[in-house]
Amino acid sequence: MISAAKPDRPPLGEPVVEIEGLHKWYGQTHVLRGVDLAVRDNEKVVILGPSGSGKSTLIRCINGLEPHQEGSVKVTGVEVDADTGQAAAARRKTGMVFQQFNLFPHLTVLENCTLAPMWVRKVPRKRAEAEAMALLERVQIAEHARKFPAQLSGGQQQRAAIARALAMQPEIMLFDEPTSALDPEMVGEVLEVMTELANAGMTMIVVSHEMAFARQVADRVIFMDEGEIVEIAPPDEFFTAPKHERSREFLSRIL
C-alpha cells in the first residue's frame, strides 16, 4: 500500500495499528465486512464515507469500545479485543475524541483532564494538574480550566476533550467526527488544534468530512462504503481523480 510521509514531515515508522480480515455484526446487521488496514507510526489517515458505512464502528474497534466477531485488531502488535492486562495496556495507547465531546459534566475541565491520569496512570495530583494545565495551554483553553463543561462553547469543549485524551499520553489519536456537532464558526479552532497535533508527529486516524483538513493533513484518505474499504489513496489523488465509481458518486454529492 502506498504510504509516504508528506514532504515537510518526519518519515513514517513501523505499523502501529494493524487490522486484518475484520468482520463485525450488530445482531443480524453485517456492519464491517472484511476490513484490512495498517496505519504506521506518525501517519495521519482520514476516513470518509456515507453514514452507515461503518467508519465510526471501525475506529471504535481500534480502542476496543466495540468487540468484533472475526479477524484481528492489533495496536502495537497486541490484539485489543481481549480480556487481558496486555490488551488493556494496548488500548491505553489510543486516545479517543468523540463527536459529542462526552466531557464529564460533574467535573471541571481540569478535573476532566486529571481524573484518568490520577486513577489509571497513578500520577500524583500535583503532577497530573501541571501536565493537564500544559495540555490546556496547548489547546488554548487554560483560562477555562476551573469551569464546568456546560459553561464552555462547543469548540472549547471539544478542545478540552482533546486535552483530556492527550493527558493519557496516547501514541495514537482516534477522532470520531470531531467537528460534526459544532456550530460552523467553531469548526476552525478545533481543526487548528488537530493540525498542530498532526505536525507535532502524532499518529492520527480521523473520521471526518472536512475536505480541506483531509487535503492538508492526511497522508492517506480511506473511503468506506457498506462496511468495506473501497479506495485508499493520497488526498490529492483521491479528490482529483478517484478511481472507484462509488468514490466518485460520494464526492459528487458532498463537494
Partner: protein, 359 residues
C-alpha cells in the same frame, strides 16, 4: 446604526390583577367568591386552632373555650416526644438525636467528602447503643421507646441503610450478570408489590413461626429491617431512573480513557446519576418518613400511636380532630423541610448536572 437597547415593558401589580383576576364580570365574580371562601376557611381554622384554643389542662373538661383542646398534647408532652422512655434517662434520647443528626450530616452539608457517608451507619449504631444501654448503661427495652423520636430514629436509620442498598439494587438490576440481575429484579418487584403494612405484620407475626424456638429479634429491629428493605426497593427505582439518564457516551469516554468498570461507575456514572435522581430520592425519603406512622399497627408507640393511646384515655375521649391535626402538623413540618432542602440541593447542583445535548 443599530437599534438602541430598550428595557422590556413592565407590568404593575394593578395591571397584573386586572388582567388575571378582574378581566371580565365572570372573572371578577369568581375571584371574589374564591377569595371570600379562602378568607372564611383561614379564619375558621385560625380561630379554632389558635384564638379560642385551650393550651393547658388535666382533662378534656379543662377545655372550656370551645376551640381546639391542645391540652391533650401538652399534658402528654413527654410521651409525644419520647414515649415511655424513663424520666431520668431522657438525656440518652437527646444523645441519640445527636447521633441521628451526625448520620445525616454528610447528606446535608455538601462540602463534606462523600466517603463520610460510610460513617452514617456507625452513627445509627451509636444511637441504638446509647438508647438500649449496650450493657454499659442500664438497659431500656424497646417497648419503652416511643413518640416523635421513634419516628426520627426509624426514619433516619432506614434512610441511611436504604440509600446504599438501593444504589446496589439499581446497579444490580442493570448488571450483565444474570444471577445478580435476576435477584435484584425479584427483590424489587416482590417488595414493591406488597403493602408495607402487610410486610410489617408478616415480620411480627409470620416471621417468628419460621424461626427456631428461643430465637427472636426485637420487634423494633424487625420493623427497622422491614422499613429499610421496603424503602430500598423504591430507592433502587429512583436511582435507576438517574442511571438511565446518564448518556451512554459518558461510560464510553471513561472506558476510552482506560478506566475500569468499577471506577467508571463510582467516579463517572453514579455521581451524575445521583444528582439527577435527587428529587426522586428525596421523594422516597419523604415517603419513608411518613411510613413510620404505620409502626403503630405492630404496637410500636410512635407519635401516631401515642395520640391514639391518648384518645383511648377516658380523660381525652372525643378529641380526634386535635389528635390527628397534631400528627398531621408534625409530619408536614418534617416533610416540608425535606422538600425545601431538596429544592436547595437542586439549585446548588443545577448547572453541574447539565449534560451536553446531542446537536
Amino acid at each position: 446604526m443599530s437599534t438602541p437597547y430598550r428595557a422590556p415593558p413592565k407590568q404593575s401589580a394593578l395591571q397584573w390583577a386586572k388582567a388575571n383576576l378582574f378581566a371580565t364580570v365572570g372573572d371578577t365574580l369568581l375571584t371574589l367568591v374564591v377569595l371570600a371562601g379562602v378568607l372564611w376557611l383561614s379564619w375558621t381554622v385560625f380561630d379554632w386552632a389558635i384564638l379560642r384554643a385551650d393550651w393547658v389542662g388535666e382533662t378534656k373538661a379543662d377545655c372550656t373555650s370551645g376551640g381546639a383542646c391542645w391540652a391533650m398534647v401538652t399534658a402528654r408532652w413527654r410521651q409525644v416526644v419520647a414515649g415511655y422512655y424513663p424520666e431520668g434517662h431522657l438525656w440518652r434520647v437527646a444523645a441519640a438525636m445527636v447521633f441521628m443528626a451526625l448520620a445525616i450530616l454528610p447528606i446535608v452539608i455538601r462540602k463534606l467528602p462523600p466517603w463520610t457517608l460510610a460513617l452514617s451507619p456507625l452513627a445509627v449504631v451509636g444511637a441504638f447503643a446509647v438508647l438500649g444501654g449496650a450493657n454499659i448503661l442500664p438497659r431500656v427495652p424497646t417497648d419503652y421507646w416511643g413518640g416523635m423520636f421513634l419516628n426520627v430514629l426509624i426514619g433516619v436509620s432506614a434512610a441511611v441503610f436504604a440509600l446504599p442498598l438501593g444504589v446496589l439494587l439499581a446497579l444490580g438490576r442493570r448488571s450483565s450478570l444474570p444471577v445478580v440481575k435476576g435477584f435484584s429484579i425479584l427483590f424489587i418487584e416482590f417488595v414493591r408489590g406488597v403493602p408495607l403494612i402487610t410486610l410489617l405484620f408478616m415480620s411480627s407475626v409470620v416471621l417468628p413461626l419460621f424461626l427456631p424456638a428461643g430465637v427472636s429479634f426485637d420487634k423494633l429491629i424487625r420493623a427497622l429491617v422491614v422499613v429499610t428493605l421496603f424503602s430500598a426497593a423504591y430507592m433502587a427505582e429512583s436511582v435507576r431512573g438517574g442511571l438511565q439518564a446518564v448518556p451512554k457516551g459518558q461510560r464510553e469516554a471513561a472506558r476510552a480513557l482506560g478506566l475500569g468498570p468499577f471506577r467508571t461507575t463510582t467516579l463517572i456514572v453514579l455521581p451524575q446519576a445521583l444528582r439527577i435522581a435527587i428529587p426522586a430520592i428525596v421523594n422516597t425519603f419523604i415517603g419513608l418518613f411518613k411510613d413510620t406512622s404505620l409502626l403503630y399497627v405492630i404496637a410500636l408507640l410512635e407519635v401516631t400511636g401515642v395520640m391514639r393511646q391518648a384518645l383511648a384515655d377516658f380523660s381525652w375521649q372525643g378529641l380526634e380532630a386535635e389528635a390527628y391535626a397534631f400528627v398531621a402538623i408534625v409530619f408536614w413540618i418534617a416533610c416540608f423541610a425535606m422538600s425545601r432542602w431538596s429544592a436547595s440541593l437542586e439549585r446548588q447542583r443545577g448547572p453541574r448536572t447539565r449534560v451536553e445535548e446531542p446537536a
